[in-house]
Amino acid sequence: MMVANKLDEENSPAGVHPLKFSLWLIIVSIFMMFAAFTSAYIVRRFEGNWLEFELPAAFLINTVIILLSSASMQLAHNAANKNNLPMVKIMLLLTIGLGIAFLFGQLNAWGELVNNKVFFGGSESNPAGSFLYVLTGVHGFHLVTGLIFLLIVLVASFRFKVHSKSMLQIHLCTIYWHFLGGLWLFLYIFLRIYN
């Protein structure tokens, strides 16, 4: 009877852990938000009255930073799988550091935009600039949620709760972090093409 009560998870018809599946669904809904922004961006751009400006140079550096953080996240994940616990902590800390560096880089890019007289709001603003702030801002917000998730995993790793027999949490965190990196890459390429 005790065994039968646990029937659902082991025999999960989809073969995926429910929480992992939920995470994918959350990723889909976040992606839909950005799909709305980017398609609105394209539609609006082809209507004319569109301010042309150079993308901040900082974007390229930030792209490199976030790709590096994805790599360190993967290393943390792999280290946990091999029970290399000190390495897990180092790589998680590195990922968090790179994530924070990325956010400061984005703030820096905003400063660059303001210096070039590309404003978010106000009488001199144009949707071209406003869209850029919204895309980076909403992505930045989700990156903060990713950092919080990373912190939770980090705390768990200090309590010896992240190891090869207990991979779910760090696994989910890795998926989410890769998604955030991939999302930024998508936005960066999108902005390159449509700016």
Binding site: M1, M2, A4, N5, K6, L7, D8, E9, E10, N11, S12, P13, A14, V16, H17, P18, L19, F21, S22, L25, I26, V28, S29, I30, M32, M33, F34, A35, A36, F37, A40, V43, R44, E47, N49, W50, L51, F120, G121, G122, S123, S125, N126, P127, A128, S130, F131, V134, V138, A156, K161, K165, S166, M167, L168, Q169, L172
Partner: protein, 608 residues
Amino acid sequence: MSSADISIHKDVHHAHDEHDHHHDQNFFEKYIFSQDHKVIGKQFLFMGILWAFIGGFLSILFRLQLGWPEATFTFLEPILGGWIENGKLNPEFYLAMVTMHGTIMVFFVLTAGLSGTFFNFLIPLQIGARDMASGFMNMLSFWFFFLASVILFISLFLDSGPAGGGWTVYPPLSALPQAIEGSKSGMTLWLIAMALFIVSQLLGGVNYITTVINLRTKGMSMTKMPLTIWSFFLTAILGLLSFPVLFSAALLLIFDRSFGTSFYLSDIYIAGEALANTGGSPILFQHLFWFLGHPEVYIVILPSFGMVSEVISTNARKPIFGYRAMIGSLLGIALLSFVVWAHHMFVTGMNPFLGSVFMFLTLIIAVPSAVKVFNWLATLWRGNIRFTAAMMFSIGFVSLFIAGGLTGIILGNSSLDIHLHDTYFVIAHFHLVMGAAAFFGMFTGVYHWFPKMFGRMMDEKLGYIHFWLTFVAVYLVFMPMHYLGIAGFPRRYYSWTTFDSFSMFGDLNAFISIAAIIGFGAQFIFLFNFIYSIFKGRRASMNPWHSNTLEWTTPPLPGHGNWPGEIPAVYRWPYDYSKPGAAEDYIPQTVPFSETQSSNLPHEKDLE
């Protein structure tokens, strides 16, 4: 998976282990911050009923104004305070009431109230799960909804009134606080409430989909699921894909209102003064809004499709006609719902060619809809029909869906829509097909699953009275509106007595208002029946309707974990009613074929 030391993981196991070692829950854990799907479902139901009465009351207020435009309503002063001046309704408040009626009914009642109640309550019970995938997220979903409700409710009492730009909140009207009273702080609260509401819907949606995919009991393949679950599953997918888009649209509107951006605003003169905003496009908002807005009407109606299919089959004592066709048509409608949004925008000056593409796609929806109606009628055909209150509402649903769906074919034609757009014809169409119909679906659900929710039966006689009064009132209200609409009578007008061409419709409007008041009054019969039956109703047996689905194998009042023993396995589809050769006229899903050798069909012999 031996990873039970992870805290997130424990939540999933929590519900399953619960009944093995009972730990006593205090009042708050059990009824307020509960993570049990049944309690959360009931919480949504109570909130939904509360909102339905508020939304309905608002409609009665503006029907008073429309029915008797010359009258003075001094008797309303104690309720409405400053919104009544010398017995005359404030025109700005009229707009706010129309807006709030729409927002409350579409989102807070027919989306959260309907989906929240039945998805939470029925998904685990009908697929054989102890609880939702994440009870915690499920609880959060309700409390985000509760917070959204509180904020929207507060906005009703602001000095400048609640949002007044229509439930679709088109900018620039909704974006400029100086435009109308209803675009001031009421609009801000509306946006905050909706943002929280969307979060609630997404949390719920993620849970519903995960649960259906991951937590089905042994033997419950996708093609053995009840149609209720199929419709809930597809509805949740629609919500997951479309609500984030509304969130994006609302976010840009918030920026336009409060941060000086110009996403939707351009070249506007207001009170002789030119605004600085340039470069925005109000049409952009409409595209984003209706990309959600159209799937949203299916989010409202699909759950009713599922529940009505289930109730009609159970009470006609016949297998549902065309089970796979029912799934196929649900899939078809869900898919099409994403590619028809611009039929709400035929008069925005869109390219006529584009209009004809959207018209074509829109009219295709008639095909899966007709499949569903045909199958419901074919299920009823020569059935051994038991007219329970739930069955009455199901049949009423089919009737309303046909009556409202036919006018959809008219409105879907761009050339006809240009004449009928924003008239009472549109009001009549969508109130029949998704408003009243979805309410009938909701009543179907409440009457049918009440025994499982509260362990008692609702009173059938009061149910009949409720049904007939509501059914007749709905037709008396909305049928005449078609004529008003064809005559060109525009929606959202506070007063039309100054137009000679419309003065002849005064009596008709008064007639509609009287019917609306009767219809609203009838809902108090339901409210009484509902509350009385919770405490004093006849005790229900385990399976009062002799139904096949899994929820009826649980005790009359299922406890935490739903089944006291192990979860039953499933062997057959849920529609084995009146099977020739069977001992009874129903065979629950849990009965293996080896026990029903006398009724097995040739191809089922292999499964014995």
